[in-house]
């Protein structure tokens, strides 16, 4: 088996990145920066979600607790039964944070610095949990917005969420 540097180019979409001038990872702690196309797709979807972001983040939380039960260990102080008002309230907090991230795509680490500090020092959530919620949010949006959930949107959303996750984990150590 060959080892060493990965064979794939640093920019997996060389034609697209060259044309859009988005080479490089300036301002991003997660490798390749969000392209103009990624930002446009994410922003357009968020506009469409409107005031319902909290509904979908709540469903994403419910899916996470069911599919990945270990994540419930961080919420032993909450009522996690279906339809719980406490889960809904927490879902709204997640929604507000993601909406902030969408507004501050150019400056995610700074925008999410306080939240990162909270998760790292106070809540001490294992950062391996974050992609699980990210995945369940993708599943929720795929389920509710099938007409919009193209491969391109899925890729852009996945990239956006991985940048958010990276910013959220940035103060851990």
């Amino acid at each position: 088996m060959q080892r060493g540097a990965p064979w794939w180019p640093r920019d997996p979409w060389p034609v697209r990145a060259g044309a859009a001038g988005t080479q490089g990872a300036a301002g991003s702690s997660a490798g390749m920066a969000l392209s103009a196309e990624d930002r446009a797709l994410v922003r357009a979807l968020w506009k469409k979600l409107g005031g319902n972001v909290g509904v979908y983040t709540t469903e994403a939380l419910e899916r996470t607790f069911l599919a990945f039960p270990a994540t419930k260990t961080y919420f032993s102080h909450l009522d996690l039964s279906p339809g719980s008002a406490q889960v809904r309230a927490h879902g709204q907090k997640v929604a507000d944070a993601l909406s902030l991230a969408v507004e501050r795509l150019d400056d995610l680490p700074r925008a999410l610095s306080a939240l990162s500090h909270l998760h790292a020092c106070q809540l001490r959530v294992d950062p391996a949990s974050f992609p699980l919620l990210g995945h369940c949010l993708l599943v929720t949006l795929a389920r509710h917005y099938p007409g919009d959930f193209s491969p391109a949107l899925q890729a852009s959303l996945d990239k956006f969420l991985s940048h958010v996750i990276s910013a959220l984990a940035s103060e851990y150590r």
Binding site: P6, L66, A67, A142, P151, Q154, A155
Partner: protein
């Protein structure tokens, strides 16, 4: 990881099977195609497939479609062998390690893309409970495929 009856709530297995049989012809191409679009580095194994330069090129690529069908047929076999995944996938595991040199991390990526595609196609039917059952299936398959790695 044991794949006994109590690991999968009984009535959900039936639901998962029903969804999978209907979805097979839809998701076989779509999941694999999406894997190559959403996680472009997975294209590393498919140099011989020709044009993979854009999402539409990938969608129209006949080799991608054919390979997607092969992969998803295997998933179908997994559903029928959930109590014995490691044995069912032993030969495929050896193949992916010794001949294809695929990082097992890729199996998790494909599993999650499959779950997204099922949610996309089945909407309301893909409840949190069904998703949870499916996450166990894809995790079981990924583990079984990685089991013979050395």
């Amino acid at each position: 990881m044991g794949m006994k009856g109590e690991y999968y709530p009984g009535k959900l297995i039936g639901k998962v099977l029903k969804i999978f049989c209907i979805s097979n012809f839809v998701s076989d191409m779509v999941s694999f195609h999406r894997l190559l679009v959403v996680y472009p580095w997975t294209q590393r194994f498919f140099d011989s497939f020709g044009n993979l330069s854009s999402p539409s090129a990938i969608l129209g690529n006949p080799k991608v479609k054919a390979h997607g069908k092969k992969v998803l047929t295997s998933f179908g076999e997994a559903i029928k062998n959930m109590d014995n995944l490691k044995t069912a996938f032993a030969k495929l595991s050896e193949l992916h390690c010794d001949k294809l040199h695929v990082d097992p991390e890729n199996f998790k990526l494909l599993g999650n893309v499959l779950v997204c595609v099922l949610a996309h196609n089945f909407g309301k039917e893909f409840t949190p409970q069904v998703q949870a059952a499916y996450q166990k299936v894809v995790a079981g398959v990924a583990n079984a495929l990685a089991h013979k790695y050395h």
